[in-house]
Symmetry: C2
Subunit: 313 residues, 2 copies
Amino acid sequence: MYTIGVDIGGMSIKIGLVDETGKIVARSRVKTADTAAQGVNDIVIHINKILEENKLDVKDINGIGVGCPGAVDSATGTVVCLPNLGWENVPLADMIKKSFDTNVKISNDANVAALGEAIYGVAKDYNSSVMITLGTGVGGGIIIDKKLFEGGWSRGAELGHVTLIMNGEPCTCGRYGCVECYCSATALMKQTREKMLENKDSKMWEYVGGDIENVDGKTAFECSKLGDNAATEVVDTYVSYLGECALNIFNVFRPEAFIFGGGVSAQGEYLNDKVRAYCEKFDYGYKNAPRTKILTATLGNDAGIIGAAALIK
Amino acid sequence: MYTIGVDIGGMSIKIGLVDETGKIVARSRVKTADTAAQGVNDIVIHINKILEENKLDVKDINGIGVGCPGAVDSATGTVVCLPNLGWENVPLADMIKKSFDTNVKISNDANVAALGEAIYGVAKDYNSSVMITLGTGVGGGIIIDKKLFEGGWSRGAELGHVTLIMNGEPCTCGRYGCVECYCSATALMKQTREKMLENKDSKMWEYVGGDIENVDGKTAFECSKLGDNAATEVVDTYVSYLGECALNIFNVFRPEAFIFGGGVSAQGEYLNDKVRAYCEKFDYGYKNAPRTKILTATLGNDAGIIGAAALIK
């Protein structure tokens, strides 16, 4: 039996045919439309295209899962608000069901990514896991007993919007000092640029060709590996933010696995080792606390499609 | 059918016979012994006493629930560590089962209190609730779908040990800036004393009879009600800590109900109104976020017995 996974993004909507092992066996992609109605139309067209190309009928799939970048009410299948797309109060599941007589489920993209890792990815051997995605923002996904925990009204699991430093940096959510303000790739780039401006002889300047606009989430990490002190300071401070965020999650959920996803997680074990060392220093939250495994997401760009398919079980 | 609830505390062990409505119909109490063996012996003696006095047999009860002030492995029924009592790696459930052929379950005292409120107390009409107890420390209890969520190894739900201000005040857990350092009754008293030393003409001095050692968790609240500016500053700052703690919990769990328990919660609606106003200011965590009810625990000193009994279902 196959499942359709739909990954709605700000730039494009990606659709995949996913087999029982979580492998994408066929895929399609369309530019994200300006309106929800057109977006749903595109999704329907591309699902039909994939089904036809693979000589499948809707009876051959066990459902359609959709991941959305924003607030979703998964119980009713409604998109509450996708700020970057301008979609509001869209009964997405019902709209898709009009074209396909099958099970349709939707969830938030960070939740979906965490579920994908838990069912088919790096956390497939663990019953409980928490994932944070370090990208433009910081998303969170929580898996308890192999099931997605979305919080009340499907509006919890906002692990990027928990204070790390009360009254700290202003956050996009309206509060101050959230995890997102310190741990996102955006925040890391800001921290990198600030340190460069204080250290005109840092190797980081050479790395970005003298143009601070070229700073990205790799700049500090790569220059720290070359022995640049200023870059190492950026990395150490950034690791301390990630470490505190991790310890907080350990103390609340004590999951078997904690997963970094998103752009910054490309640093893999180099980053994980540093976060482990930080957490070790604080005994993983408190004395004799059980150890949570710190891991890197493995599904990469396919997490959205595979995780969306994992919503159908 | 009755249930036995056992509330192990630093000073005394309280044992109650609880009916199906959560009412304590008989109770006993014994000073907490120096050793676990003697403690278990006392528990057995007092359960037998209650059963005899009420002409009940062990067959007339559906189980024994125990709340413990420390780390517990509820899956195995083992007390991992009760720091204040010196108990370590005690197979408590098995020890009690040797005397009573019935179901025995144990959990941490803050979890048990939250479960009691969820089943028999202020949150009985809500499916999900989170409680924090504002006492010497800050304990946390999480209820999801009417069930206790203890985290992996039963070692999560430590809501007092989540950073509010990274690198802030030193915490008993070894980290810095935890919720407990700002929100406990102990922290409130410290904040009160510091403000008094800065404000020699504050009404708080009169309230405590000129002796700063008499400061308690009520001092700032009661003097603020009398219009004392310094006291109001203490209350407003304390409320901001509670508000940030609440918003963090809302963003992660978005529970239907959020409950204050412990000594400071005696301020009831006076405190809740202020926390609500703070959360309102930040739109309950983010724009158009669903509203969590902010409530006060109602089981008071009986929460330990009633909540322990609620472990048996």
